[in-house]
């Protein structure tokens, strides 16, 4: 749980009425932003380099009409979600396996940290060499990106479990498995979610980066292709579409999170 989220949770408790207004403010903010861009495009900014909201909108409309956008979005979405599911599953499982023993955790912690420090995107050429130019390298890169974030977050959650709760259950006669199920898992679950929420955008980054290097479909291909034709509106349109999908998915995760942790 980041500080920002904690603050948001608190403010939504104290100010139930301001909640609806926030969406209005957000819409206004977006409109102003787009309006300024639109107005500046031409007199201040060269539309060739910076495009304009209206041109981007037109491109989006055209792509949606012809089905190009749906096709490429779906490819990227498929790669990312597949990678996300694999990466998150392995991340959680491995974190619980490693976290079950203090010695094990402390032994491999520095190695994982070292690997974590490598920019995952730098692995793309390697994965393309190994797995070709189909969906596989994109899924693997998305999966690896998600894996590390989920693994790390979950492991730090496990390390911070309140030992007093563990002790309470042990004195009641609970075995290790019961302690894991009743205390460690529920205590680490918010951290799992933090990892998932952080990991999702990185999953997209991984998939798109691999697409940009070698592919004939997906948002990464679309931006690369548009840039190749010096079509700035096309580049922005592709990124904009990706932004919307990521935001919607994150919102969905957040809703699940709020429901799951309603005991707080």
């Amino acid at each position: 749980m980041t500080i920002r989220e904690t603050l948001q949770r608190e403010s939504s408790v104290s100010g139930k009425h301001s909640f609806d207004f926030v969406w209005l403010y957000r819409a206004l903010f977006l409109l102003i932003l787009l309006g300024v861009w639109q107005a500046a495009s031409g007199p201040l900014l060269d539309p060739f380099w910076f495009s304009s909201p209206s041109a981007i909108g037109a491109t989006l409309a055209k792509w949606t009409w012809t089905g190009v956008l749906q096709h490429h979005l779906f490819v990227t979405f498929k790669e990312t979600i597949t990678g996300f599911v694999f990466g998150a599953t392995f991340g959680v499982l491995l974190a619980f396996a490693v976290g079950s023993s203090d010695i094990l955790r402390r032994t491999i912690d520095p190695f994982i940290t070292a690997i974590y420090g490598v920019p995952k995107v730098a692995l793309a050429p390697l994965f393309i060499m190994w797995f070709g130019i189909g969906l596989a390298p994109k899924i693997v890169l998305a999966g690896v990106s998600v894996f590390f974030l989920v693994f790390f977050s979950t492991l730090s959650g496990i390390a911070q479990v309140d030992q007093r709760m563990v002790h309470a259950l042990r004195t009641m006669g609970a075995d290790r498995l019961t302690v894991q199920r009743r205390v460690v898992f529920p205590a680490a679950l918010p951290w799992v979610f933090t990892g998932l929420k952080l990991g999702l955008p990185y999953g997209f980054v991984g998939a798109v980066a691999a697409e940009m290097m070698a592919s004939n479909a997906g948002i990464g291909f679309l931006t690369q292709n548009a840039a190749g034709q010096l079509d700035t509106a096309g580049v922005f349109a592709a990124l904009f579409a990706l932004m919307i999908v990521t935001a919607l998915l994150n919102e969905g995760l957040g809703a699940h999170e709020r429901w799951l942790f309603r005991w707080r």
Partner: protein
């Protein structure tokens, strides 16, 4: 009256002296080492609690009362000496005791009802019996109506009561209680004290009860020990002569109460240099 009282006392004492030792501390020392230095909490600490005895521990804050209970529960290990419980050395987590800790240890993701059911779940008690016993216990501690609440929505006193219920429900032979009634209002405190005495009478459990309330200690216990300041030893070991059964609301008017109170108060006051606990 005096004769009867003397007789009761004699019977009580002889009964307890004949019981085997349930809990033993032998020359126990406990030193905490940290970056900020070392704290010697216990030194040459000796204590025997007989089976079925109700022992109260009072002492200044930081004198090691909670440490004594942690050692008994096997959550802490002595630096020197040995602790035994039910004639066995305590070497790991001791699951033959029920430990009501000073801090909150309810699981925040479970409701009151689910929290109290955890020990029964661990013991594989069948579901119908489990829910029956949970319901009974919730009524006993006065939490009816709050079954579906999560701990974050309960007051401090209610959380203590839920912890009390969770400790009592699996009927451990020995109870360790660390200031269990501290945050409760006076009225409820009396109710729960009476309930605890009733339970103790009926079951003959050994109880080690830490409190900062001398009246409470005299009301409940067969014996009250006063810890000195660190490194702690037993400064006063006071047998409570007030006969049983006792009524929690008028123990303080019983003959002998005054004397006990004065002696215990004096022992605590002497060491804590104006800062009583």
């Amino acid at each position: 009256m005096a004769v009867a009282q003397y007789a009761t006392k004699a019977i009580l004492e002889s009964a307890q002296q004949s019981n085997p030792a349930d809990i033993e501390f032998r020359n126990v020392g406990r030193i905490f080492k940290s970056r900020n230095g070392t704290v010697e909490v216990l030194r040459d600490f000796n204590l025997t609690v007989r089976k079925g005895e109700f022992l109260a521990i009072v002492g200044p804050s930081g004198s090691g009362k909670s440490t004594v209970l942690n050692l008994l529960a096997g959550l802490d290990i002595p630096s020197t000496g040995a602790v035994s419980c039910h004639s066995k050395a305590v070497t790991g987590v001791n699951s033959e005791i029920g430990y009501l800790t000073q801090h909150d240890s309810l699981l925040p993701w479970l409701t009151v009802e689910q929290n109290i059911a955890v020990p029964l779940e661990i013991r594989n008690v069948a579901k119908p019996e489990r829910s029956r016993r949970v319901r009974e216990m919730i009524a006993n501690v006065g939490l009816s109506g709050f079954e579906q609440y999560h701990p974050s929505r309960l007051s401090g006193g209610m959380r203590k009561r839920a912890m009390l219920a969770r400790t009592l429900i699996y009927d451990p032979p020995t109870l360790l209680m660390d200031e269990p009634f501290g945050p409760l209002d006076a009225q409820l405190k009396l109710v729960l004290q009476a309930e605890l005495l009733r339970l103790w009478n009926a079951t003959g459990k050994t109880v080690v009860f830490v409190t900062h309330d001398i009246v409470e200690a005299i009301t409940l216990a067969d014996r009250v020990i006063v810890l000195s300041q660190r490194p702690s030893r037993i400064k006063l070991d006071e047998k409570i002569s007030i006969p049983r059964p006792r009524e929690v609301h008028d123990v303080r008017f019983a003959p002998g109460f005054e004397d006990h109170y004065r002696r215990l108060w004096g022992a605590i006051e002497f060491d804590s240099a104006g800062q009583r606990q």
